[in-house]
């Protein structure tokens, strides 16, 4: 009896889908479509672009030339044969870009636009485009032209797909060296940041030093400013006219040195959060056991502390590595002649308008980012399982010498971080460095400079507000659908993948992908190109994953049985969503919105390709003013971003506390 293994033949029962089910599916469909249109398709467009090359294929065209009378025609001859006979164009001359033109009369050394000789041209294959004046022709029919018209015949390039772009990239030593540079910078910055952040986190979690709260606050400051701001501060300190230039002993700050110092600054809080979490979950009992076994402090450190925090350390290392290698603002400001991958994308696209090569560099930049992302995800999973274990939290005991050492270390880091911000503030207020050191607000008069003026600031504020509101709504609803919908497994798995993807996509790559996708006139969404909408979409997408994970974590803590209970009470899911899920998750929702706001204020990488004259942004203005040599106004604009974000954070803290005390009364017993 018990051995009868298989199901009897027949149809597997499927429940009918009720209106709730349809609404949920519709919601998820809309958000999945959003992710497809805002992420998957642009990336696909970029990837396919990187395989496209443009070139003139002379074998596709045939010409005939008449005699002086214009009635007697010579034999048809291909353009390729003409070129071979003349030796006019070498193969590399035939490479081109999407709007290349090759003048047809160049193939005829005797050509004169005044002669009565007539010319005929036709394509020998289906795709042989050429221009007569401005008219694009593409036909295998002969077309007869007098010489004055033939003067204005241009051959157009045809596209071929293949690996040529990649071959070209890897055989170009200048471009190739950027890979080395990027890896070098990212590795050095990662080692330093993780070491420094570990020391800091260790002090906060494992010592009894005073002023922990203040240090935590200072350590979080870099999150509030664009990554290029430390570059500006470093120029003031160690640049050509820097007041601490002497400390460098002849080294230059413009280059790897500056990039590394700046990178340590802006990645520090990210690494600190992760390592601090890892250290805070360790178990007091392990230390008591070590002590009872008479293990030395040093041995305990290496056998208990480090293994306990190893996932945090690995995760922090990969996050830092990704942040540095994909960062664009800092090397732009302080990199000098030192090329890195992110800069190459910018140069290829903005400088040389070589979009295909930009796409190739983007693909190259994707590789380390995706590897780091995958490793980080694996490690995070293990970290979660550590977290769920019940343990007794570690209680540090006062130890004067140790506490003072830790205090000294935190003070050093604190001075470094606060110092960078202070130098920027100083720079913004100085009238004319280094000649007129009196204070003025002249540098805040942005309307006098290029870069978008005060309008750029207000645009940024608008972008940040829209991103916070729209992004949070999309992200939270999407996460709810992934976590709480029943059935529809494949759809949810695809959705989850799409939601995790943005974390692995560097901002530069996303921005470039958006150009390829949205700037295509055939795209039905073309109309958002150059508007605030595309900036909002790109920013929401760029920062989607962290918000998604925050929402998922909050939703996972909610009893999975709320939905069945509400259904059994014959209540639609949206009523449960509005009355219970959202109120219970409000702290997480506020966290997501402030995260989106702050990042929208500071981001440069994705939007630098997408802003238009009407939608210039404060963070981009910092970049552009710095580029134009207006460093002090750039610092001033950077400080505007800092004030705004600091204010937003304080308001957020107040709002959270108020809302918590009002709507979350149930949390206290």
């Amino acid at each position: 009896m018990a051995e009868a293994a298989a199901l009897p033949a027949g149809r597997t029962t499927r429940l009918k889908i009720d209106s709730d089910g349809w609404i949920k599916r519709a919601f998820m469909g809309v958000i999945a479509l959003y992710l497809v249109a805002a992420l998957a398709l642009p990336l696909y467009a970029m990837l396919s672009k990187s395989f496209v090359t443009y070139g003139f294929d002379l074998s596709r065209y045939e010409f005939q030339v008449s005699d002086e009378s214009g009635t007697v025609w010579g034999d048809p001859v291909t353009a390729a044969a003409l070129n071979e006979a003349l030796g006019k164009f070498a193969p590399e001359d035939l490479r081109s870009s999407s709007d290349g033109r090759l003048s047809a009369p160049d193939l005829f050394p005797d050509f004169s636009f005044r002669s009565p000789v007539k010319y005929r041209i036709r394509g020998t294959s289906d795709n042989a485009p050429y221009l007569v004046g401005l008219d694009l022709q593409n036909s295998t029919e002969w077309r007869e032209l007098d010489s004055n018209t033939f003067r204005r015949v241009n051959l157009r390039p045809v596209t071929t797909t293949g690996l040529q772009n990649y071959q070209e990239y890897f055989s170009n030593p200048v471009l190739f060296s950027s890979i080395e540079n990027s890896l070098f910078i990212a590795s050095v910055s990662t080692v330093l940041t993780v070491l420094f952040a570990f020391g800091f986190a260790y002090a906060i979690n494992r010592s009894c030093m005073p002023f922990k709260g203040a240090f935590r606050l200072i350590a979080m400051m870099p999150i509030l400013v664009p990554s290029l701001l430390p570059g500006i501060a470093l120029i003031y300190m160690f640049g050509n006219q820097g007041f601490l230039k002497g400390l460098l002993f002849g080294q230059t700050i413009y280059g790897p040195l500056g990039i590394v110092i700046g990178s340590v600054f802006f990645t520090f809080p990210h690494a600190l959060i992760i390592i601090s979490t890892a250290l805070s979950i360790s178990d007091q009992r392990q230390y008591e056991a070590a002590e009872s076994l008479r293990a030395s402090k040093w041995r305990t450190f290496w056998t208990v502390t480090i293994p306990g925090a190893r996932y945090g350390l690995i995760s922090a290392a990969f996050v830092t590595f990704t942040l540095v290698i994909t960062d664009f603002g800092l090397p732009k400001v302080i990199g000098g002649q030192y090329n890195v991958l992110a800069i190459d994308i910018y140069k290829q696209v903005i400088g040389q308008q070589n979009f295909e090569m930009g796409a190739v560099v983007s693909v190259v930049l994707l590789i380390p980012a995706i590897v780091a992302f995958i490793v980080d995800r694996q490690v995070q999973k293990k970290q979660v399982s550590l977290l769920s274990a019940r343990s007794v939290p570690y209680q540090p005991k006062p130890n004067r010498r140790f506490d003072m050492t830790m205090l000294a270390w935190c003070a050093t880091m604190g001075v470094f971080i606060a110092g960078i911000i202070a130098v920027c503030q100083f720079a913004a207020l100085i009238n004319y460095w280094p000649y007129d050191l009196s204070f003025s607000l002249r540098n805040y008069d942005f309307n006098r400079m290029d870069g978008g003026g005060w309008a750029a600031y207000w645009n940024s504020l608008e972008l940040a507000a829209l991103t916070a509101v729209i992004g949070t709504a999309i992200i939270f609803t999407g996460a709810y659908m992934v976590e709480k919908i029943d059935g529809f497994k494949t759809g949810r798995a695809v959705f989850q993948f799409l939601a995790m993807l943005p974390m692995a996509i560097p901002g530069m790559v996303l921005g470039l992908a958006y150009i390829f996708f949205f700037n295509n006139p055939a795209n039905p969404f073309h109309f958002i190109y150059g508007t605030m909408a595309i900036l909002v979409v790109s920013t929401v997408t760029h920062f989607y994953t962290v918000g998604h994970l925050t929402a998922l974590t909050a939703l996972k803590q909610i009893d999975a049985e709320f939905e069945p209970v509400a259904t059994s009470l014959r209540q639609p899911f949206w009523r449960l969503f509005a009355r219970v899920t959202v109120p219970v998750c409000l702290p997480a929702i506020l966290d997501i919105s402030i995260y989106m706001f702050v990042n929208a204020m500071t981001t440069v990488s994705a939007v630098v390709f997408l802003y238009s004259t009407h939608t210039a942004l404060a963070s981009v203005a910092v970049l552009n003013m710095d580029d134009a040599g207006d460093i002090a106004p750039a610092a001033a604009m950077g400080m505007m971003i800092f004030y705004t974000n600091a204010t937003a954070r304080i308001l957020h803290a107040f709002a959270s506390r108020r809302i918590l005390s009002r709507t979350q009364a149930w949390r206290v017993r």
Binding site: T13, K16, I17, D18, P564, L569, R570, Q571, V580
Partner: protein, 380 residues
């Protein structure tokens, strides 16, 4: 045997069944969680699904609730085929082990959750909430949040919320498992009372046999996705259909032997058993409950009466209301026999460890199950 007849009257529902489950199968990938489960439940009955974890009892409940649809088979409720209906279109209230109370809503808003949004006037809802709070014995807790209540109180609120909408069927998924022992026993009784008062057909899933025995009108014992036996608590206990049921509900001494002519041989001794319908020479397992090992007399009355065994007391454990006694018998070879002797019997016979005595295993209490098959059995 008069006891059996009285039970039989309840065991088969007289009126057409309210919930009729036919040929239910459920597969999770290759794993078969339910095999051909069929079940009739009468209106107003209190049914317990009882079995070890992984036996399919919760799967069956979730199929009835429409939370995880069955793979094959039909479910009819009140004459309506609900097999393919989504949960929202079925008619039941549900209570989970976790209570699943909405933490940000007060007790009264929790209870009113299913009443609001139904065009009922506010005053009517408020009155209904008061009525329900009184019914579950928490009239003055309306304004509190769930976190401010004890586990037992929270479970009562969950119950009130589930019955607020007057469901045709009440589903309880291990409702008492998260509570401590004292509260559990108390709430058991209250739930049963409430169910009787409301007359709502109720299905409770539990792995706790005591809970099932004390609350259910009928118990559905499940194992490996199959229903082992359906019956009243006494039926299940007194007349287990399979060795699994005998083992899972209550304790048993198990002895392997062969069956022959209405009796089994245990070493030198012969035990008369119940009528089994088994062929002579069949390999069987004999099961006797510790409380069915009756202390007869001190000393040996060698082999005179049928079903009497000479034994020696190896060890006695005092467990409050009775003595758990380990017995050894030459007749049983090395197999130990466990008996529960009442305080009175121990005192009356002056039993102590090391004493020789005679015990009786009454024929109608000796359960016989064919070996190698967990199905079929004593009065199959």
């Amino acid at each position: 045997m008069s006891e059996l007849q009285a039970e039989g009257a309840v065991a088969t529902p007289a009126e057409p069944s309210y919930l009729k489950i036919e040929g239910l199968w459920k597969a999770f990938g290759d794993f078969i969680a339910l095999r051909e489960v069929s079940l009739d439940i009468a209106r107003g009955e209190f049914i317990c699904f009882l079995g070890p974890s992984g036996c399919g009892k919760t799967t069956l409940l979730r199929a009835i609730a429409g939370l995880d649809p069955q793979s094959r088979g039909t479910i009819r409720q009140g004459g309506r085929d609900i097999s393919e209906l989504p949960a929202s279109q079925r008619d039941y209230g549900i209570v989970f082990q976790s209570y699943a109370l909405f933490p940000n809503l007060t007790v009264e808003r929790n209870i009113a959750f299913g009443l609001e949004n139904t065009k009922r006037p506010k005053a009517e809802i408020a009155a209904r909430v008061r009525e329900l709070l009184a019914l579950v014995g928490l009239p003055d807790q309306a304004k509190k949040y769930p976190a401010q209540l004890s586990g037992g109180q929270q479970q009562r609120i969950a119950l009130a919320r589930a019955i607020a909408i007057n469901p045709g069927l009440l589903l309880l998924d291990e409702p008492l498992s998260a509570l401590d022992a004292k509260v559990r026993v108390h709430l058991r009784h209250e739930i049963k009372e409430l169910q009787r008062k409301l007359g709502v057909t109720t299905i409770m899933v539990t792995h706790d046999q005591e809970e099932a025995l004390s609350m259910a009108d009928r118990i559905v014992v499940m194992n490996h996705g199959v229903i082992e036996q359906i019956g009243t608590p006494t039926e299940i206990y007194r007349h287990p259909a399979t060795l699994f049921v005998a083992d899972f509900i209550g304790e048993t001494n198990r002895i392997a032997t062969t069956y022959s002519g209405g009796a089994v041989k245990l070493g030198d001794a012969t035990l008369q058993t119940r009528e089994t319908g088994l062929a002579d020479g069949a390999a069987v397992t004999v099961a006797v409950r510790p409380e069915d090992v009756l202390p007869h007399a001190i000393g040996h009355e060698a082999g005179t009466k049928p079903n009497h065994l000479p034994v020696r007391i190896v060890d006695m454990e005092f467990l409050g209301s009775y003595w758990r006694t380990h017995l050894a018998s030459a007749a049983l070879g090395g197999t130990p026999l466990v008996a529960n002797f009442s305080m009175n019997a121990v005192r009356r016979l002056g039993l102590s460890a090391g004493a020789e005595m005679t015990v009786e295993l009454p024929a109608e209490r000796v359960l016989v199950f064919p070996q190698g098959d967990t199905r079929g059995g004593a009065h199959g």
